[in-house]
């Protein structure tokens, strides 16, 4: 009997954004996010008073998934950031900070939501059209013939995660490894569509970062005892492999919905075991060298196989099944009866390996797009952070293959974009105002709020008390060291802009980012102009940032449009 219980009525609040409490919480969240942003961002230690491990991080994905928020508006903001991160891995903090900034700035203007949403949409379209256009001044095409740009991209990602606790040398090492791992997943000869392989990250905690390596093929962790049993491996030029997805533990498969009556004296276990041993005999007669099973192997079968010098590994797990079948070229076998010879695969070599205290069996493929990235770091939290970083970098590289261009990092894209929008709305306001009933003043007000929001994101990169400036030619972002004198000869104090493309020795004029900006038409600063600078650029993923920008504006629009919050109190 179902229990009936009256539902409590919900709580309905009007104009949620005007409440002081919501503003304060938004402000706190923004503070947390901005202080973690960028290479010099501060680390956050999140720990649950009720138990669980302490997480030290500055990454949005780790931070937001560990940080519970209660207010529905904040929930919208954090979920949309988390969803963005799960799609693109990168630019999560950028999205969240931009969204917070937009909400805050727009509220200050006091315009009606209708106008704000309309205009925000127009400005967003301006941004995306500009970023996608050929004339875009903050976009660099990727040259796949040299690894330089990709390496810069990976390095920018690794350096922007300070919680990995890497030295300069370690950063270079990890960046190179990640790029190598990525290149190993690209198939050599493709027909029509490029299908990328997979890099499997193998954990090895408590070791030096410089011990990390990349192998083609798969590392399967085995216990030392098991390895001793396997050894020595007889040498041959190729090993025949069988991969099972069905359980070989001797359990009875589904017998149907009806009942099964077993006469006394009949042992089904024996019958099944007999069947398993028959299977073993077939494997031996087919000259299989390695048998792997996703589930459990019956001990007797294992014994039988090892007697016939067949290496048997069980409990591989479902996660490894797809890479294993790809590496060995097998078809996972689901039958205990006759096995078609076409389901067998092979590996080039099979060798035991020992890293630190862990033993592995290394499957070296003939030709495959699967590689293993053995990742080391000193402690658990730093390792977790490094793993996330490497995953992000690998994902970003995949996205870059699809859309072969990158954006300038170090805040330069944001300031450049802000300058462009100011210029556009100041000189051609008709194109925006044409179709809907907004006035020019409203447009000016909102453009200022929008550009300020973008510039504050760039400004959040600076955490050490320095000044953030922008130049009047390219619209790039520059930051000076702390305690610089108030009136200075800027070229001496600034060396390179945020992305590293522009040099301060050019004839440039600067203005503080906080000061009122005059509309300028930002020019394109090309990498080949500044010779030698292309080796050490700070770059961002194009796809992730573009989508982050769109998601941030859409989320801000959504939050600004709320007129009621109905909370279900059940």
């Amino acid at each position: 009997m179902s229990r009936l219980e009256a539902k409590k009525p919900s709580l309905c609040k009007s104009e949620p954004l005007t409440s002081e409490k919501v503003r304060a919480t938004l402000c706190v969240l923004k503070g947390i996010l901005t202080s973690s942003y960028g290479p010099s961002g501060r680390l956050k230690q999140v720990h649950n008073g009720l138990g669980g491990c302490v997480c030290t991080t500055s990454q949005s994905s780790a931070l937001l998934s560990n940080l519970p928020v209660t207010h529905p508006i904040l929930k919208i903001l954090t979920t949309s950031t988390k969803n963005h991160v799960s799609c693109f891995s990168d630019c999560g903090l950028f999205t969240a900070i931009l969204c917070c900034n937009l909400i805050e700035n727009v509220q200050r203007t006091g315009l009606t939501p209708t106008t704000v949403i309309k205009l925000n949409q127009h400005l967003l379209r301006l941004c995306t059209n500009y970023l996608k256009s050929e004339s875009c001044g903050c976009r660099i095409p990727v040259d796949f013939s040299s690894p330089q740009t990709l390496l810069c991209l990976v390095r920018s990602i690794v350096t922007s995660k300070p919680a990995c606790m890497l030295t300069r040398e370690e950063t270079d090492h990890i960046s190179a490894l990640v790029l190598k791992a990525f290149l190993l997943t690209i198939p050599e000869n493709t027909k029509d569509r490029l299908i990328l392989g997979k890099s499997i990250i193998v954990p090895l905690k408590g070791h030096r970062v410089l011990d990390s390596t990349v192998f083609p093929g798969i590392l399967i962790e085995v216990s030392e005892v098991q390895l001793m049993k396997i050894l020595p491996i007889k040498k041959s030029n190729a090993f025949k492999v069988a991969l099972f997805c069905a359980s070989l533990s001797g359990d009875l498969s589904d017998t149907g919905e009806g009942t099964m009556v077993v006469s006394s004296g009949v042992s089904l276990e024996n019958a099944v075991l007999e069947q398993l041993l028959n299977l073993g005999r077939q494997l031996v007669s087919d000259h299989v060298d390695l048998v792997m099973c996703q589930k459990v192997l019956h001990p007797s079968l294992k014994q039988f196989l090892s007697m016939h010098q067949v290496i048997a590994i069980d409990r591989v797990g479902v996660a490894l099944m797809e890479p294993l079948s790809k590496v060995t070229g097998t078809q996972p076998i689901g039958s205990l009866g006759s096995i078609s010879p076409s389901s067998y695969g092979s590996v080039k070599d099979l060798c035991p390996a020992k890293f630190g205290f862990k033993h592995f069996l290394h499957l070296i493929p003939n030709e495959a797009t699967i590689c293993s990235l053995l990742l080391c770091n000193r402690n658990d939290t730093a390792w977790d952070e490094l793993k996330l970083t490497c995953q992000t970098a690998l994902h970003v590289l995949q996205l870059t293959i699809k859309e072969p261009c990158v954006l300038l990092g170090g805040g330069c894209t944001e300031t450049h974009l802000a300058a462009y929008i100011r210029h556009k709305t100041c000189n051609e306001p008709e194109s925006i105002l044409r179709d809907d009933g907004c006035t020019q003043t409203e447009l000016q007000l909102l453009t200022e709020a929008f550009c300020r929001a973008l510039e504050s994101v760039a400004g959040s990169l600076e955490h050490d008390g320095g000044e953030v400036l922008t130049d009047m030619k390219y619209g790039h972002c520059w930051s000076s060291q702390a305690e610089s004198p108030s009136v200075v000869n800027w070229p001496d104090w600034l060396s390179r802009c945020g992305c590293g493309l522009c040099n301060s020795q050019e004839e440039l004029h600067w203005s503080f980012l906080k000061a009122t900006q005059h509309p300028i038409a930002p020019q394109t600063c090309l990498p080949h102009e500044a010779t030698g600078s292309s080796n050490n650029l700070t770059l961002d993923c194009f796809t992730a940032k573009l989508s982050g920008l769109q998601v941030a504006v859409e989320t801000a629009n959504l939050i600004l449009d709320l007129s009621y919050v109905i909370e279900d109190k059940n």
């Binding site: 949403i117 149907g256 919905e257 099964m260 009866g337």
Partner: protein, 721 residues
């Protein structure tokens, strides 16, 4: 505990609801965030969702919500308008009652008795409402309002073809009230594209609506974390799961559907399998294996490349399928299976019981079958070849958060419901009262005669639709049109001029007049040049209907170029009215043809208001006139909310006065907004509200019980015991 006076309580309740919902109404409406107890967040502007999320406790409120949801189930639209209208009606009733009470109060009745007296009064009113709803409303709709209706079809001939531009206008207006302001245009375009892509032929759109409405969940895929603008339409069907085995295949890909495991089992349900020896077990296992192998082999020999299964298949089956190059998709939902069956006309493959006798095999071809990755989740993408008028396409809906994706899904589904409703004929039936006999007889007879002698649509070939309506009913008119045409033949005529030249006749002569068309045409602006070369002389061969017209007109038009207004062709006045005179002289049935629309922005409400007021003036019975008056005034509540934020020329009083003036002087009404809405939807909404109000008014006492609800026993089962 009992509470008196439910009408009063109902007013209080609806007023609260009105304040919440009126802020979400119309193009200026804003969003509401609802949290669920599970922690999920939903973004919504749909009235039905909000009312449900509020979890109202008050019994009257719960009744109102139940009425709204039953209305929504039928039409998929109008929850917010429902509440606002109800609130205004209750308010109107109260002011009337209060006035009467003031006069009564001197009589010094005891409070208790007064309450019961009130209840009697409410009862009378509710009866009057019922009469209104069943008789007067239909009468007014048919006689007065119908001449203002436009249709969504691009021609008024037998073959109904949908016009894209008017569908766009209709959808845009719908989504204005349903999704966020920044997305409504995008979503309505998406839906329009989707609809036209799914439609195999012009005429089969009803089937498309039915199918999409029934299988909406299966036909869309939600993706979170991407901007809304990444939403798109994919050709083919996307199944919400991954392949169990995928073997790339080209060319003729045949598929089968199975609903049970291919591998035979030891024992079927309700049967017994007796095992006597180990050898028996092994042989039976061997038999099972061989049998499975044989079935899969057979499938392969039939060129089957894809096996769709509604159940999980054993490892053995997937293994053999993989070996034979057959891809497998398992665990399809019953809805997915029935959708595929309906689209492809494919019935499930029945496993043969006897061995090796399976020559009859239900297979069908697909264009392609490949994995599709959306946001690192894998789906199965099938290029189904349709056998019905629905060409399968899927909508991929993107949004930063799940709540927004759900809102868009809900809005799209509602739109399909609304369209499905729009394309059904609506029956109107009413009694003609004797007192009104004089008034109604003339249009009736007129219509009747028209039916028997349909005017050949002569101008048709020459100048297209808009002038069809002007096929004239009196000679003066015709002459004017004709002269005008003569004057302008061989000329490029700007459309505005054309319209201004359309003769104005008095509405008395032609009840189905043409002003409405012209007026709407003018406000639906972008112009498009269109050349019509039809050199045939056109001859009017008019029958007995009017002798004066028999003269015959010839207009030889050579290369007559008419600048035609886009979207104009479809804005026809709805003229075909299958009006039947029933056996009883006073009983009348007619239908509101499918696809009737009116411009948005409270046009329906103001029109109905105007005609109701006119009606009350003629009406003798006091109850009826009071009720009609209240309804007429309450109807204005909706445009009032819609134009709340508008100022100056577009403020509500201005618009109201302008429209009334236009109606009185029989001039075209100029609407400030483009966009259309369904008349049938509005009509049904009004009837639902009136029914709800009648229900509220018939309650006199609310008895509050605090006890666990008793279990309801089924009477039949009692008898069995």
């Amino acid at each position: 505990m009992a509470a008196l006076g439910s009408a009063k309580a109902a007013l209080q309740v609806t007023e609260v609801l009105e304040t919440i919902l009126s802020r979400c109404l119309g193009p200026e409406g804003r969003q509401v965030l609802c949290t669920k107890p599970t922690g999920e967040v939903l973004i919504s502007r749909s009235g039905g969702c909000l009312l449900e999320a509020l979890h109202l406790e008050h019994p009257i409120a719960r009744m109102v919500v139940a009425c709204v949801s039953s209305h929504l189930r039928r039409t998929g639209d109008g929850a917010k308008t429902f509440i606002i209208l109800l609130c205004h009606l209750l308010r109107g009733l109260h002011t009337v009652i209060d006035k009467e009470q003031d006069s009564l109060i001197s009589k010094n009745i005891q409070t208790h008795r007064r309450h019961w007296k009130n209840c009697c009064q409410w009862k009378f009113i509710s009866q009057a409402l019922l009469t209104f709803q069943t008789q007067i409303l239909d009468y007014i709709m048919d006689h007065y309002l119908s001449k203002h209706f436009l249709t969504i079809f691009s021609s008024s001939t037998e073959e109904r073809t949908l016009c894209r531009s008017s569908l766009e206008l209709l959808l845009e207006a719908y989504f204005c009230g349903r999704v966020g302001r920044n997305n409504h245009y995008f979503i309505s375009q998406l839906m329009c594209n989707y609809f036209f892509k799914c439609m195999a032929c012009e005429s089969g759109f009803e089937e498309v609506f039915d199918l999409v409405d029934d299988y909406f969940v299966e036909l869309n895929v939600g993706v979170t974390g991407l901007p809304v603008s990444d939403s798109r339409i994919i050709a083919g069907l996307v199944l919400h799961r991954d392949f169990s085995v995928y073997c790339p295949a080209d060319g003729d890909i045949r598929i089968v559907i199975v609903t049970e495991t291919i591998q035979p089992l030891f024992s079927a349900s309700a049967s017994e399998f007796i095992l006597n020896s180990e050898a028996q077990f092994q042989t039976s296992q061997f038999w099972i294996m061989e049998k499975t192998k044989a079935i899969v082999k057979h499938l392969q020999s039939q060129n089957v490349k894809l096996l769709l299964s509604s159940v999980k298949q054993p490892d053995l089956v997937t293994y053999y399928a993989g070996l034979n190059g057959i891809s497998v998709v398992e665990c399809l939902s019953p809805e997915e299976v029935s959708l595929i069956q309906r689209v492809m006309g494919l019935s499930p493959f029945i496993l043969p019981q006897a061995s090796s006798q399976y020559e009859i095999c239900n297979t069908a071809s697909v264009k392609f079958c490949k994995p599709l990755t959306l946001r690192s989740k894998r789906y199965v993408h099938l290029g189904l070849i349709s056998t019905c008028s629905f060409v399968p396409h899927c909508i991929v809906l993107c949004g930063p958060v799940q709540g927004l994706v759900e809102q868009h899904e809900g809005a799209l589904h509602g739109a399909f419901k609304m369209l499905r409703q729009l394309f059904k004929d609506l029956d109107l039936s009413y009694m003609i009262q004797t007192s009104d006999q004089n008034h109604t007889s003339s249009p009736l007879t007129y219509k009747d005669s028209r039916e028997s002698n349909p005017l050949p649509e002569i101008v048709n070939g020459l100048i297209q639709r808009p002038y069809q309506g002007t096929v004239v009913k009196n000679k003066g008119n015709l002459a004017k049109t004709q002269t005008y045409l003569k004057v302008y033949s061989n000329l490029v005529v700007p459309s505005v001029e054309l319209e201004t030249c359309i003769p104005c006749s008095t509405p008395k002569v032609t009840p189905t007049d043409t002003y409405q068309t012209n007026e709407t045409l003018r406000c639906l602006a972008p112009t498009k040049t269109r050349t019509i070369d039809d050199n045939e002389p056109f001859i009017e061969s008019n029958s007995a209907n009017s002798t004066a017209e028999n003269t015959g007109i010839e207009i030889s038009s050579e290369n007559l170029q008419v600048t035609k207004i886009a979207g104009k062709g479809n804005m026809l006045p709805v003229r075909e009215k299958s009006l039947e005179m029933c056996t009883s002289q006073s009983y009348c049935c007619s239908t509101l043809p499918a696809g009737c629309v009116l411009p948005v922005g409270g046009n329906f409400e103001i029109l109905l208001h105007y005609y109701l007021l006119n009606y009350t003036r003629k009406c003798q019975q006091s109850e009826e006139s009071v009720v009609s008056m209240i309804i007429a005034n309450a109807l204005l509540g909706i445009p009032q909310v819609l134009y709340k934020s508008k100022k100056g020329k577009y403020s509500f009083p201005q618009i109201y006065i302008r429209t009334l003036h236009a109606l009185q002087t029989s001039q075209p009404i100029v609407s400030s907004q483009k966009g259309l809405e369904s008349v049938a939807g509005k009509y049904q909404l009004l009837t639902s509200v009136l029914q709800c109000l009648t229900k509220i008014l018939t309650i006199d006492l609310v008895i509050n019980i605090r006890r666990q609800p008793r279990e309801m026993y089924d009477q039949d089962s009692d008898e069995e015991v």
